[in-house]
Amino acid sequence: MAQLSLNNICKDYGNGCLAVNQANLEVHDGEFVVLVGPSGCGKSTLLNMIAGLEDITSGTLKINNRVVNTLPSKDRDIAMVFQNYALYPHMTVYKNMAFSLSLRKVQKAEIDRRVQDAARILDIRHLLERLPRELSGGQRQRVAIGRAIVRQPSIFLFDEPLSNLDAKLRVQMRVEIRDLHHRLGVTAIYVTHDQTEAMTMGDRIVVMKDGVIQQMDRPMEIYNNPANRFVAGFIGSPAMNFFEGMLVHTDRGWAFHQSEGIHLALPDAYKDFAQHTGPVPLTLGLRPEMIGCSQAWQQRDAPRLHGKIRVVEPLGAETYLYCETGQAHWIARVEQGSWTVGQEVALPVLIDRLHFFDGRTQVSLPLHRHSGLSAQMGIYA
């Protein structure tokens, strides 16, 4: 199978900023890596460079320890599934799948065998003689994957393959792709802007922004220990609440204070951290699921977040509350209950799940070096 190694890869379109800046990434054999980030973050460019569809400005790209920077994509032993499937509209499904093999002068019988195999795996055998325009979105998606499968590549590249599907189908295909990956055992790189897909599908996630890799780790690691405010905000849904303020030392100990009226007393566990950091501007990150959750209600001394409900979003199992405190807006994920708009609430906060970011650099401020919190963190890992 294949492993992939990116070393200081850069892409310069000559417009003043680098589309991809110093990307370093090791993908192991059989691993499923997800590149995630907002649009324009360079994830697709990076993928295209791996695919050989874009030139690499600098750095080295190795597949199985061989530098492939200038190798044409058809010789890299990779296959790619495109966002809008990229099925040739004038060819039948069968021809679409067979096309690359026939270009490689594979024997007819062999082509047929592989296409039939792939079709069976994907359950699209009855569609082989149709034209792409006669297929539904999900069927097209399958054909696109099938087209990649028949080539039996060592690396699979997916470029936002699910973004054109409706929500329900997306969930279904997500599972199927993951399952397929297990069955085929190939190396896969998957690009998406959807953090849910990233979290659910990736063995590892690579978060990118403005051409720079922000963080690269297993999904829960990224969820629990985001490297910076961007990653913290990007991963997790609803997104993390951020409050800009500073740590203050009151007579009852350290607290986070925000000028709009948010005031959270910090337990002793944060003492070392607070003392080390001091009263500087910083950003507090608080996941919605930490506000008003049952666990927090159970803690008697949990600090409360005061605010007024603007919007109530009942989702069934849980309810999102969009609240405001002065000018600050925040979201809480609570259990169902009789929440009404305009209601003044004081929700308990699960205090051992706080994230702090440097006010200037927005880099995550490490807690565990200064406190005993690390042990507790462990339970979420």
Binding site: N48, A51, G52, L53, S73, K74, I78, A79, M80, F82, Q83, N84, Y85, A86, L87, Y88, P89, H90, F99, S100, L103, R104, R147, D159
Partner: protein, 303 residues
Amino acid sequence: MNIDKELPAQPLTLNWEPSDKVWNPWQTLGRWKARRLVWVYLALALAALLFAMPFYYMLITTFKSTAELAHDEVSLWVQNPTLDPLRRLLNGTAYLHAAWNSFVIAVVTTLGNMLLCPLAGYAFAKHRFPGRDRIFFLLLSTMMVPGAVLLVPNFILARDFGWVNTYWPLIVPGLASIFYVFLARQFISKIPRDLIQAARMDGCSEWRIFFQIILPLCRPLLASIGILSFLGSWNGFIGPMIYLLDEDRYTIPLVISMLQGRFGGQENVQMAGSLLSIVPALIFFFIFQKQIVSSFANSGLKE
């Protein structure tokens, strides 16, 4: 100059079936609609009479005998239809020869444009290479030079090449018209990039991508280029007039233009010439009306 902005972004098509999607200014007038529509038909029919009248004149005059023409009155009908004018036309000119010549010139020009313009348009739309936009702009700016300005120097050039009295000066300069390159670029830029990348990953060379992926997807474009360039070449007059010397190389418009001199005073023979040149075109138009109309509509539009 932002060319993309100036032109309609979507390919234009006409609806051919009556549908409520078509705006009908009279529809909203409720019960007056039917009566209003009568006026529309009336106005259209009257104008159509004016539109079709020259063709009708041509048709009946062709079949009038010389004796009938000599009558000093306007007659809207043929008394004794005769094929004599047609016979005299075909005997007196190399008409069929000219039709073949026109056809050869038009077909070669058209095929050239249908191949070369999408090729260049594809490169300009989908390839990234040094100087691409600058070259494209330079090419576009050559469209600003009116053809009339090039008459004299192109004649001198053709003479230098030994091209006078050959078809080359009528074919070669128009073999890859910049206007169609522009059209092709517009059209091909709407083909998803993924498709080309997929083909590249499948192992297609650029040539194969062009012939196996792009061209099959360009059918409407090819129809437009084909129809427009064929008609442009088929109807071209000033070029053949300047370059062609021998009668057996003349094209149809050239033959028609000389009927006034060659059959002076024989209006019926002159009209027979017009008839023979117009009727096949009308039949062609009748059959391929939709394609031709949409070609002109999308052509972005050229005379």
